[in-house]
Amino acid sequence: MSEQGPEGTFEPRIVAFFCNWCTYTAADLAGISRMQYAPNVRVIRLMCSGRVDPQFVLAAFRDGADGVLIGGCHPGDCHYQEGNYNALRRFELLKRMLVGFGIEEERVRLEWISASEGDRVQKVCNEMTEQVRALGPLRLETVQSVDEGRVAPAPAGEPVGQVTA
């Protein structure tokens, strides 16, 4: 279902929620180390992956994202002790719920990336960009307008269908 633009490739837009202490710092490290990676991931900084409200994930899709990435500290290493476990608990249910809404599992991802793993940021961003590219754009159906789907009345006298009496 991939959209062929003029150059033939669809550029996915992925919104990422990175926790300040680990993943955001790792992304900074990737930058300091000049690791090049796909430009498709737009990072939103939160203090903890436990702050990620499922509403944010849905809002990202609604606003046009083709994928959502959540980054947090490895289990046991959360700067706030347990925030990342909460992210994980919500994520499991959220994933299944998204599948119920017809959104493929691969469009939403939770990754544990520690502050020293700049290379993982590079790897995950590249990987996810390609994965979502293969899935194609997420076509969320917009609300139907009032006139859409209305049958235009046929000119009088022209039969549309016949019913035998």
């Binding site: 499922p54 849905l58 719920m97 917009t142 049958v151 235009a152 016949q162």
Partner: protein, 344 residues
């Protein structure tokens, strides 16, 4: 001074909201004393032409229940909007999409195929679905267009107030009507119910522990719930914490967990997502495998968390279920060659 004129109308609904008005019992007498009901298809013999004959804005208010999914419902909503000073979206369906809103998880195609053919309890000869336009010797017959999409009322017309509930509790209905009559309606756009979650009025709240953690989720049929203790504490998925109060915790009184019909508070954009966040945060274990297993115990997350609010949710409908193989307009089916069962 003449009594304010009001209208009641039903769109894609079950009739429960009409019954709720009747369920006012003696209070309904006060209501009919205070207002002049000039249109109520289920209970009174007024016609659409009577509504069309009214001046614009002549109705003080129109209470419209049900979601919108046919062209007729959309037209009636628009008509009533012109004729009414205030539109009250009455009930969960009108506000959030309600139970009919679950149809947004399926394509129009598949719904028609199932209802008119695929269902095990249907015998439909060679098949055949309702046609929007058909010419018969007697003339031309039309049916309203069955939309692709279930919409909330405010996606079709401008809505002034929302009365939540499936159906709205009698007390809230009476309050709303009397507020209208006495000119005490609050600022436009508000939901006419307390803006605080059900736990605030639930009698079992005291039994809910401060550090509630769930080790297992149960479906209502799996256990016999203790009638005194918080249902969430017993592992039942109760949406009380994420759902507005104002219903007197009626379902809890019947020993059943809240399913969310009173909708979210004003501070929440997507009811299902917030309800999910809260329930998931109660899971006790930290082990990924165990978390996944517990999540599986909630068998149908969409149905559980968005029972009444699929159309109002941020995603609005299931991806890939709009359009199907049909082009805009009528479903192209071959005309039936025989009429088993007959048209009604």
């Amino acid at each position: 001074m003449s009594k304010p004129k009001v209208a009641f109308y039903w769109c894609a609904s079950c009739g429960g909201c009409e019954e709720a008005v009747v369920d006012l019992n003696e209070v309904v007498l006060d209501v009919v004393e205070a207002v002049d009901i000039v249109f109520w298809p289920v209970a009174m013999d007024f016609k659409v032409s009577d509504v069309e004959a009214l001046a614009d804005g002549e109705l003080a208010a129109a209470f419209i229940n049900g979601a919108v999914r046919t062209s007729e419902q959309a037209e009636m909503a628009e008509l009533l909007r012109r004729k009414a000073g205030a539109i009250v979206a009455f009930g969960a369906c009108a506000w959030l999409g309600g139970i009919p809103g679950l149809a947004n998880l399926y394509s129009r195609e598949s719904i028609l195929e199932f209802v008119y053919g695929g269902s095990p309890s249907v015998q439909n000869g060679d098949g055949g679905v309702p046609q929007e336009l058909i010419d018969v010797p007697e003339g031309r017959m039309t049916l309203p267009h069955f939309d692709e999409d279930v919409r909330t009322l405010d996606e079709v017309i401008d809505v002034d107030y929302y009365l939540p509930g499936c159906p709205p509790p009698a007390g809230l209905i009476a309050q709303a009507v009397m507020a209208l009559v006495e000119g005490r309606l609050p600022e436009k756009g508000l939901v006419l119910a307390p803006d605080v979650a059900l736990c605030a009025e639930c009698p079992r709240a005291v039994t809910k522990p401060e550090d509630l953690k769930v080790a297992r989720f149960y479906r209502p049929y799996e256990i016999v719930a203790d009638p005194e203790t918080c249902l969430l504490a017993q592992g039942l998925v109760c949406l009380g914490p994420s759902t507005r109060s104002g219903c007197g915790a009626a379902c809890i009184a019947a020993n059943m967990p809240c399913t969310g019909c009173m909708g979210p508070t004003s501070r929440v954009i997507d009811h299902g997502a917030k309800a999910l966040a809260a329930i998931a945060s109660l899971i006790e274990t930290r082990e990924p495998g165990e978390i996944a297993a517990l999540s599986e115990q909630i068998v149908d997350p969409v149905g559980t968390f968005y029972r009444y609010s699929v159309p109002a949710s941020l995603l609005h409908r299931r991806v890939g279920t709009k359009g199907g193989t049909a082009t805009e307009g009528a479903v192209a089916h071959p005309a039936p060659t025989s009429t088993t069962g007959g048209e009604s």
